[in-house]
Symmetry: D2
Amino acid sequence: MTQTPDDDFKIDLRSDVTVELVKHSASDADVLFAARVSTVGEQSLDELNKDPERSKGLINFLLRDRHGSPFEHNSMTFFINAPIFVFREFMRHRVGWSYNEESGRYRELQPVFYVPDESRKLVQQGRPGKYVFVEGTPAQHELVGRAMEDSYRQAYQTYRQMLAAGVAREVARSVLPVGLYSSMYATCNARSLMHFLGLRTQHELAKVPSFPQREIEMVGEKMEAEWARLMPLTYAAFNANGRVAP
Amino acid sequence: MTQTPDDDFKIDLRSDVTVELVKHSASDADVLFAARVSTVGEQSLDELNKDPERSKGLINFLLRDRHGSPFEHNSMTFFINAPIFVFREFMRHRVGWSYNEESGRYRELQPVFYVPDESRKLVQQGRPGKYVFVEGTPAQHELVGRAMEDSYRQAYQTYRQMLAAGVAREVARSVLPVGLYSSMYATCNARSLMHFLGLRTQHELAKVPSFPQREIEMVGEKMEAEWARLMPLTYAAFNANGRVAP
Amino acid sequence: MTQTPDDDFKIDLRSDVTVELVKHSASDADVLFAARVSTVGEQSLDELNKDPERSKGLINFLLRDRHGSPFEHNSMTFFINAPIFVFREFMRHRVGWSYNEESGRYRELQPVFYVPDESRKLVQQGRPGKYVFVEGTPAQHELVGRAMEDSYRQAYQTYRQMLAAGVAREVARSVLPVGLYSSMYATCNARSLMHFLGLRTQHELAKVPSFPQREIEMVGEKMEAEWARLMPLTYAAFNANGRVAP
Amino acid sequence: MTQTPDDDFKIDLRSDVTVELVKHSASDADVLFAARVSTVGEQSLDELNKDPERSKGLINFLLRDRHGSPFEHNSMTFFINAPIFVFREFMRHRVGWSYNEESGRYRELQPVFYVPDESRKLVQQGRPGKYVFVEGTPAQHELVGRAMEDSYRQAYQTYRQMLAAGVAREVARSVLPVGLYSSMYATCNARSLMHFLGLRTQHELAKVPSFPQREIEMVGEKMEAEWARLMPLTYAAFNANGRVAP
């Protein structure tokens, strides 16, 4: 994060996204409870824990044969910071996701903007559906860093100028770029998260190829890391079955 | 619950439903966190608790003006026992609900059946959309109790007979009545629960009339009692605003 | 369909299900329009029809790489007659499906019941998740036919007896079996229908095995036949890609 | 629309949104068919048309008592042109809506931008939940028009500069503002549209106040006009019942 002074504001340039697991009620046992009601009725946690190999096998079977509903009786809430263009893609996920995002109508938005760092491949090759990304040259990185910063600063200055003149926030924000950071609470369950991860991450174990934009994949990877800790058996089965959501 | 012996099985007759709150991650603070991200960004729990009157006012405002999404970042899982005809209505609720029910394909179903008790009004008057229920006579109650028990026992006997002859459970169950008890896990959030309660309970504070079947209302009342304890401010605001889900 | 006289009613026994395509707004062009807005903006139908091979390729690509949303901008409404136990499974499909079913609260239900015909395999072998169905013996078929009819008639007689005594329909129906026929309007789109078909039909082209109950599969096959006529390119691509919904 | 020449591109400035009804399968009869299956079973169109007053009464009853599902068996597809900040709000509507939007990953985005015209109230007064908008002064309008145009042009120039240097579209677009026009197909049904209109339009008949941003309301008004023509009885009942979606 670098801070650039200006007349009366300074803009922050960031290359990362942040994901915080705010709260959760999610464990592999939730899947087992729900699945076993179909076959043996309600069970105690003791019974569930009696035979770990059997539990592993059941979760694997559910994922393989696409019995999706047992993976819905759990809940994870994330607090996410990322550029608007990431949230635009994120909110295309409608089922099993709940969102509350910072509002440009109710708040003055802060000057925090995205610039790709050196690890971000800048050049797209191939054709739709088969894009490959390759490294940018130092000159390209230099251009992107400088051009973005200038453009962001100018846009934010215009925003501030309109606010100062008494123009409503919801009108003035029109000039703010999709590289501006926003924040939101997003709540999901293991099933809807698996669906997200199947589409928004690339992974060597994936049976079906995905071509996510890198920045939303970064969010996905961080959510995945949290989820893997909460539901290790489910996570292992997801990978073992080609990362296709049931 | 009465048990009636028979050749080789006894049937249970019940008039109640049961609802157990299995797990939850649900509090009024979840609503406040999500709502305030729109206006002031992420906040600590301390800040949230600083001004209880303000919290109450915010939740009330959200409900009144139908800002529904802040009520979705929470989760409640219920284990429910009720007759099949209740579950048939229950599963019409698609959004914000997850279900896993006992399966007549995987399990031999147990002979537990519903009969209305004396408190159940047996007689329907009026026309569609304006039905009123009135007390049944003792003779009607006597008839219903006896006729149902006979019919249930005969149906279950037929079921057992087919199973004994090697017929698949999923075929044999065709004769089992919708008064048979089933069980399921149902997971929801405060918003989807409010929607359910608005339609499936009658209440003097309701702005819009509802005409639920009594048996699903009994399930609704038990879920409502659990939820009211978990999220008292939200519950109060739901009632204060005419029990219309946002 | 056979009709059996009785005191004052006769019951119908059926072994089939019916599916009528009531209305639709669904064609392969709907998929193409929606998909191409991503890449080339709005297009005329003429442009779309110019290059059929390209259209076929695009639909195939969308299905293969799980770009599901272009398959949602279309609509099919079916009128379906089937036993209650089929509708119980059907309504587990929540997303992209709308339902309106005949109500046992508002109508006196008619005595039409399901009995499996000779083509229905009656005997289940193996264990959960790996069930195989094999032919029933003539004796088993004879038993099932006779036992079901007797049980259905007795249940319906009890229903009528309670109605005659002034008991509300919604109470009296408790004794009616899940083999009773009901009817409903069900509206879906190509994406939600593919999801249904992937789970509720068995097919040699399916990449993932499914074990649907035969009776819901019969409904699925009839919907599939209608859909295949409306959207032949999409249908071919669904089969070519292992019958996994995008 | 004014066009401003530049080095090698010219930007379009617009103040309107456009909504085209691309296709539809939607009529009041669809509601009646679906509703009557509950009470009298399948009916012919002739029967439905026999008694127009009764039809009107039934639709009114359904809306008043929140029987929402009969309003889902219909479909409307719109092609919409509007600024990104409108689509950001639009896509918060998850249930009963399908979207396909122009993609900044697959296409070079065109320089068409939003500026408010004289009818747009520029100044926000009051506090969250009770905002009122009042006229801007000529000086404010002049500032907004000029500042936005300058900022948009500079941002688009930066975008073009990065593209010219070989930077991927998905990276370069970070600098583009949310006032940029995008286009999408959006498919809904009468129920999900009513929900949208209840929240995203202000109307003297509304029982519950809404405070939509003017630009999304403009989209809503145009969709409403199309829908009112297709389903006049449903539309009248929506207004008569306070514009609350069932």
